[in-house]
Symmetry: C3
Subunit: 201 residues, 3 copies
């Protein structure tokens, strides 16, 4: 139940990030909603396809699409009246990344996959929607930026897995894992944190 | 049966649009056929994967791949001998968009999904092949253009759903829905119709 | 068993090609591993999804992800100490293309699909990982280059199918098919071989 509400928050913030990414692309309202929807459902859909979970989460429960449309329309209305806060796009993306990374890891864990698969599945669920959004709106994918991105997701999943293995309450493990992702990602943007990068030519 | 032939026409025109998109990309003949194939089967494949319909439509029936190859080769031969009519690419894309949008909606409807899912599934089936084509051939996706695109698909699906709900013959509902998409899309290109767009910075 | 080891070699070389493609993109170490993983598992994952083979090959067997990570880290370490051999990226890509094209064809053949499906499935398995890699790292996809690419894959699959149909040992058919792809592709790069290309405007 908790995970369900966190998933709904996840699609809402990713939908908002899709609208923010469409902002200077001259899309019409329905085009914006299509981009927001693809961003919001991309990661979870790939997760469900890879784990052969049918029906896909948003096919069997209309709440997701309703929340996505509501979030997209609210973001559009906001943007027509106010300038967006400076880092709105990056914050919305970081929140979506964190919620989907932990939710993808959680589902793979529940299906009793190995820790390696749990980490990969979580990372993929977290980054897929954002990569799709960036490719469709012709942006340089955030995952290609210098600051911690996949790393933040993987670190948070590791924290989540460690907490689950010592049998703390699920909500605490989920919360701490997600918070780790968001914090690492936003601090990395703010202070330019990054792992060693590959030597350039 | 009717839907089957309309699907074959859909893959043929999307294949032609894939060839037209490859035109100035210096692809060789087989490369062109690969791009045409991905464009033509992209939307329906994603539809079948999401609805867990196996085998995928073109895996169980070779007619699709034969029609796609024939359409691609015919388009290549035509282009080596004549200049393409001015808007050939946009017209082929509009026809593919319309046929796949209604066909995707039709399949979701037959599987008794809710209207919201039917609309989303139809829109996704219609736009996916074209987005894939534009990303692979490194073009700005048509869905990012200002003129009605996803909107045209969604409006046509709405017309189709309304007609189905009042029990007119399927062929009439399908035809009117498809025609709505093509007409809206082509008129939008011709006269620059668009919904309100998001305010630019 | 033979196919299993060839598949492992396939993911290893595609992972290396993913690292080489990330080289001048300022990705951090984990970002590089994510790109390497997507490149390495992309083609086979799409093959498994399309043929409805579950669990997906890397979900049920951790060896793949371990080999991918090891190959990616080894490539990163190498690149921090030595300049890459001139065509390392193109050679790694050609090897991955060849192994996955034949392996995709082999699986479709084992599932008793028609020759046309076998060819398409092989070609798609071979090119998908590389296209994904090029799109994510914002490069012009290799499939869009003038030299033989999809053509090399299709020619090798044809050789493989002919040899299988005359009942030579599997290993010989696989080896000759793969070698055909690599040789055609590398010779095409070296000497600029290409099929007739579509007339430019």
């Amino acid at each position: 139940m908790l995970f369900y509400y966190l998933d709904l928050i996840g699609v809402a913030v990713f939908a908002a990030s899709g609208v923010l990414a469409s902002r200077d692309r001259e899309l019409d309202l329905l085009g914006v909603i299509v981009v927001a929807t693809l961003t919001a459902i991309g990661g979870g859909t790939i997760r469900d396809l890879l784990l052969d979970r049918h029906p896909i989460f948003w096919v069997s429960d209309n709440s997701y699409l309703i929340v996505i449309s509501a979030s997209a329309v609210a973001t559009v209305v906001y943007l027509r009246n106010f300038p967006p806060p400076g880092n709105a796009f990056l914050v919305a993306d970081a929140m979506g990344l964190s919620l989907f990374a932990i939710s993808g890891a959680n589902l793979a864990l529940a299906a009793e996959h190995t820790p390696l698969i749990v980490v990969i599945m979580g990372a993929m669920t977290g980054v897929a929607g954002g990569v799709l959004r960036d490719v469709i709106t012709a942006r340089v994918p955030l995952i290609l930026q210098r600051e911690l991105y996949a790393t933040a997701a993987i670190a948070g999943i590791a924290v989540y897995l460690m907490l689950e293995s010592i049998a703390v309450p699920h909500a605490f493990a989920f919360g701490t894992g997600s918070l780790t992702v968001v914090t690492l990602r936003l601090f990395a943007i703010r202070w330019g944190w990054h792992l060693p990068v590959l030597r350039q030519e």
